[in-house]
Amino acid sequence: MLFDFVVLGATGEEGNITSKDLLESGYSVLLCGRNKSRIKTLLKYKKAKFAYVDLNNIEKTAGILKKSGAKIAVNCAELRMNINAMKACLISGLHYLDLGGLQEMTIQQYKFDKDFKKRKLTALLGCGSTPGISNVMAAYAVNKMDSVEHIEVGFAWDSNIKKFILPYSIESIVHELTTDPIVLDNGKFKKTKACTFEGALKFREIKKQNTYCIVHSEVFTFKRYFGKKGLKFVHYKAGFPEHSFKVLDAIIKLGFGSKEPININGINLRPIDFTREVLKKIDRPKGYKETEDIWIKVYGKYGGRPKKIEMDCLVKTLKGWEDVGSNINTGMSISIMAQMLNKNLIKKEGITAPEEAVPCKSFFEELAKRKMYIYENNKRIN
């Protein structure tokens, strides 16, 4: 069987959502990963098949990509595998999309720009909710201004039942909360302390919430694409409800996020790999519903006067997708962008990001079909 798409890391939380969205849209999908038991339901789709892929082995991965017949690889695996996945795409000649590489990884990924251009391939980085939706919203807002000075960007979410549910990849969360982030401050990249408190903010349909400055790729890509419009400040603010943040903080403080292997009965085990498996066993309880706001505030000038545009993308637990809560905004976004690439709506070659390559209007329309609504200064626009 030949496939329309390959999903790498289809066995993860986001990969599951992406794959289901692609399959529901009628495409054939080769589901790649290591832990097949996590995609039993997806394999019930006629156009789905599993392939064992360990991204540590680039050659083998490239072979599977090539044999799949697909033109596009959608990488939903843990971000530390991004470079390997890109290399496999270069070898096999597939377009590439991923969910972002935070800061260190994103910098490394841009170094492959020439290689992708040479092969006339697109590599679209950071196609989830944030990075992803946030970047497209930023482009939409920045386009309406003559110049832009300051962008604040972030997410906030909450649930009706205050039970701890792993919001997304624990490995990424630990990385985000423990790595000293770089911010854009007065035109210069500057390092700050990990997870500094950025104040309690009020969000659309979400109660007041503490926010923290964490590592995120938007700081780099916004500067790259909006720098010529004068952008001087980018601040990332992550919001977690207290019941969730308390647990994440304790997990880290108690050593469960450590990457330093420990020896257990002669086997070396990274605590983070253990933690990931333990936390994955926690199911969303019946009636559990999430609301998430991906938000961005753009401050600039239009017609010589100061202008502020506030954009929100609001998502709620969707019928038929209860088991993944608000995470649909990540998994579905990359599916939408992959489909746009497939339909030639995204043409840019080389390394690119959603704020440069993704047409805002049609992307927002696709979000609305999935009940994710975009607000511009509190007015719904999709």
Binding site: A250, G255, I262, N265, L269, D273, V278, K281
Partner: protein, 387 residues
């Protein structure tokens, strides 16, 4: 502290300490300071105890609790073995004692193990041996306090045991999870349903329940003791014929929150977990992760513990307290000292009954209190010091 009563050593009296972890080390210290016989350290890693043995003039023998044969061999000629490895091995060690003809002492069996251990009574009797179960601070001192109080009542109705603790120490470094005893035991205490004896019947309540404010005497003050699975409930209802017996221990809020959280999100589960090709026991991996945390390094230890037994009849109430001040030594000594005292009483023939006993059934209370007072553990009856 040197309180040797008899300076002449009698090398024929031998006490063995099985396991030289934090409790084993306290026991070793007390024996070195107070016992006029010979101590033998029974350890899996012989090298790790060499320095201590040299300092305390003790002998070392190899013994691995997971290999019962090594125990029988190691126990040879020992009068009493104090078992200070984890309680899951209590039964195995007792069985080895039956084979080697050695008297036995342990630090407790979290109710369920104790129940099984008591069933070896006839075998110990037949073999002319004594076993005393659960003689640390709690269980241990608690049981003896309750027994002592019962002597002032015609009929015991209620026994409430409550442990309160306050830390006034200063620290160079604080561990993110400071526990005053084995995290493994704490995991069990926080996940097994506590037994409560109510109206003449055992019932099991939710772990970490019954957390209510309770005022201990100064300087401990207000604490929130919670029900915990403990072996006192396995014996006191029957030995002292009480109608209601409960056990509660206080932990600080932050500690309880963290353990509760680990439990709620699945880290303390006994389930098998698959990671890649390997399978692990969830709780075991969590324990290993927690063991790697930075240790608490005190600048000056200053701890205070109150072990309280409130024993009442219909008309009369007696409050017994054991008060332990830890200055420059941790209050854990209240768990390490009692087994040393009782082992010496057995070795000296002061405790001579044969069979398997909980502390309240065999320990001469006043002699025991006297020994505790020599080690600065003071007993109060209705607020009046009695030792």
């Amino acid at each position: 502290m040197k309180i040797k009563t008899n300076s002449k050593k009698d090398k024929n009296k031998i006490i063995g300490i099985l396991g030289l972890g934090s409790m084993g080390k306290i026991i070793a210290k007390d024996l070195a300071e107070t016992f006029n016989g010979k101590a033998i350290y029974l350890a899996r890693d012989v090298n790790s105890v060499k320095n201590l043995a040299k300092k305390n003039d003790a002998e070392i023998r190899y013994a691995d609790v997971s290999k019962p044969k090594t125990l029988v061999k190691a126990f040879k000629n020992i009068d009493v073995v104090i078992h200070a490895v984890h309680h899951e091995f209590n039964l195995d060690v007792m069985k080895a004692c039956l084979k080697s003809k050695t008297n036995y002492i342990d630090l407790g069996g979290l109710y369920h193990y104790t129940k099984k251990q008591l069933k070896l009574n006839n075998q110990f009797k037949k073999n002319n041996l004594t076993a005393v179960l659960g003689i640390g601070a709690s269980p241990g001192i608690t049981n003896v306090l309750a027994k002592y109080a019962s002597g002032f009542l015609d009929k015991v109705e209620n026994i409430e045991i409550k442990i309160g603790y306050k830390d006034f120490s200063t620290y160079k470094q604080l561990s993110p999870l400071s526990a005053s005893y084995s995290i493994q035991t704490i995991f069990e205490e926080f996940s097994w349903k506590p037994a409560v004896f109510e109206n003449g019947k055992i019932k099991f309540v939710e772990p970490i329940s019954g957390r209510e404010e309770y005022k201990f005497p100064k300087p401990v003050g207000m604490q929130k003791p919670q029900y915990t699975i403990h072996s006192e409930i396995a014996t006191l209802p029957y030995t002292l014929k009480a109608k209601n017996v409960s056990f509660k221990i206080a932990f600080d809020d932050d500690f309880v929150d963290k353990i509760k959280m680990l439990k709620e999100i699945g880290f303390i589960s006994d389930e098998e977990i698959k990671i890649g090709k390997n399978k692990f026991n969830t709780k075991d991996v969590s324990l290993e992760i927690l063991k790697k945390l930075p240790k608490t390094i005190p600048k000056r230890i200053n701890e205070y513990e109150i072990i309280r037994a409130v024993v009442s009849s219909k008309h009369k109430k007696i409050i017994m307290d054991a008060k332990i001040l830890g200055i420059n030594e941790t209050i854990d000594k209240d768990t390490g000292i009692p087994p040393s005292i009782i082992a010496q009483m057995i070795a000296d023939g002061k405790i001579a009954d044969k069979g398997v006993f909980p502390p309240e059934s065999i320990i001469p209370e006043e002699d025991f209190f006297k020994e505790l007072s020599k080690r600065k553990i003071y007993i109060y009856k209705n607020d009046k010091k009695i030792n």
